[in-house]
Symmetry: C2
Subunit: 320 residues, 2 copies
């Protein structure tokens, strides 16, 4: 099961983290920026100049991502690829997204696509087909018409029939999903922390649904194919959820640029240091700005620091 594979990679590398490939153009290092600037002065002036700009930009983003992946694949178990940064570049960007996730797979990494998809059942099936509808053949990098991810983030506002099509594909193709439960952003509490009549908060209610959606899909470490997104920026809520959802693996955003530190993350993990994977995006992609050197070497150094930071708090990660 893919959640077991993820856990085993985390144990093997003693590193419960993933690197977020939220590759905004402004994160690219100076040499790539220069390449872009050379043609960007013509962008927005004609459709053709525009298309050229976005095609080059997408190629550079892909090249940047490959550089990062090459330097971290031996120490980091997974990448989280945030599709919004690729959609911003139009269909050329979507191609860069597709190539990025295929390259990460080829390099042996687990791929989490962060797309927060959601819709009614018939349409949710289409999203599930697109992202988790097939197994990936590791020998194929040639662009093909799907976005083969190991995990996909989804939004559960529509209830069970918007989630079931994803869970069915998880079972069929050995994939996983992470449902938004308590998100890391400042205003997440506006809806998620409201109290329901029955005493639960909205995020607890969503968490309970997640635990239920995962029933019958538990792997050997006790976690199911239906995980939850739980922001590191809300350690109290994370503590509540960790206790409440014993079979739910957490995808944990918010470390680094969003303000959460390792101590705050502790609540997302069980006593064995398992139960979650922590994402860092900007802190890794832009590490070269603080550290100097090449962007890829700086990214690796940032990943090693993050691992050490978490190890300080979590200790050795082991199987139950």
């Amino acid at each position: 099961m893919i959640v077991d594979t993820l856990i085993e990679k985390i144990i093997e590398k003693q590193n419960p983290t993933c690197v977020g490939l939220d590759t905004a153009l402004e994160y690219l290092p100076p040499d790539m920026q220069n390449e872009l600037n050379a043609i960007s002065k013509n962008a927005n002036k004609s459709a053709l100049a525009d298309a050229r700009f976005y095609h080059l930009a997408s190629q550079l983003v892909y090249k940047f991502n490959c550089g990062i992946i090459d330097k971290i694949a031996d120490i980091v178990p997974a990448v989280k690829v945030q599709i919004a940064y690729y959609e911003e570049l139009g269909h050329a960007g979507v191609m860069a997204f597709e190539k990025t996730i295929k390259y990460a797979k080829k390099m042996g990494m687990i791929v989490i696509t962060d797309a927060k998809r959601n819709d009614i059942g018939a349409t949710a099936t289409r999203y599930a087909n697109a992202f988790i509808g097939r197994n990936y053949e590791t020998d194929i990098i040639f662009p093909r018409a799907d976005f083969p991810s190991d995990f996909l983030t989804v939004n559960g506002y529509l209830g069970s029939d918007g989630i079931t099509p994803f869970v069915e594909q998880c079972k069929k193709h050995d994939k996983g999903i992470f449902v938004l439960v308590k998100t890391s952003n400042p205003s997440s509490g506006e809806l998620q922390n409201l109290k329901l009549e029955d005493g639960r908060t909205v995020y607890e209610c969503m968490g309970d649904m997640v635990e239920r959606w995962g029933e019958g899909t538990h792997g050997k470490y006790g976690y199911s194919c239906v995980g939850a997104v739980v922001g590191a920026t809300y350690p109290e809520e994370a503590k509540v959820l960790r206790a409440r959802l014993p079979h739910t693996f957490f995808l944990v955003p918010g470390y680094g640029a969003q303000g959460a530190n390792a101590e705050m993350l502790k609540n997302c993990f069980d006593n064995n240091g398992l139960g979650g994977v922590v994402n860092n995006s900007r802190g890794v992609l832009c590490a070269y700005r603080k550290r100097g050197g090449t962007y890829d070497e700086a990214a690796r150094a940032a990943c090693l620091d993050m691992r050490a930071d978490l190890q300080n708090v979590l200790g050795a990660i082991c199987a139950k």
Copy 2:
């Protein structure tokens, strides 16, 4: 303002509907199916055969969509393009999506992209850039690197800072969004109909946030650039929301294949027959199966029937 433009087109055509271009491959008529079948026997056998299949499929979907648009542009004010059906075909499908919305714009239709995007602020900005980040130049059909829509559907589970970036782009580029409030699917009540401690339901609470997000963006008919998705399949909830959200324009799915009839839709509209736009997807795209004839002529006939059906219930639509 775009919401005023939509309303004026609705009044001009006396037709408060949009056609959902949820163009699944299985909806294509027999001659297109035959073209696909001729090469689909090789799909899944190699990456190249696969890519060829999805490229042809995407071309056929675009051709099909153009056929529909050509036949309905004079009687229907808007199309709603559901991006999941295009993502299912990979990056070639995304290109077909992009070309479809540009063609619909060229033919004078309002474009609603149904993508239900959502994320934390920094990332929401990227989605906003992709879909509502620029004005559209009507003379450009050449593929360029964005998905220029007039309206975008979004999911508000993350609260204000996940919505504000969209609203900012709406103000800047004269665009609109529709936030999921009460969705049309069978299990939408699992979360949305739960009662909060303060007596409101979750969908009422989301509706109240929508009304607030739209403040200061009202057009001349009183509606703001922040609309709501309210399923026709829940007429009681629609009635509550119509009264509660006087400045919120509704995008109303659920008519036809999902089971709602014209009488159920009445609650989504104000006394002038304004306040909402009703979507029909399968009932139009697959009309040729029931009616015979070519798919595009059948689609037009289905649109005329739908308009008549709504006129029976709503009467003449007029400005306040």
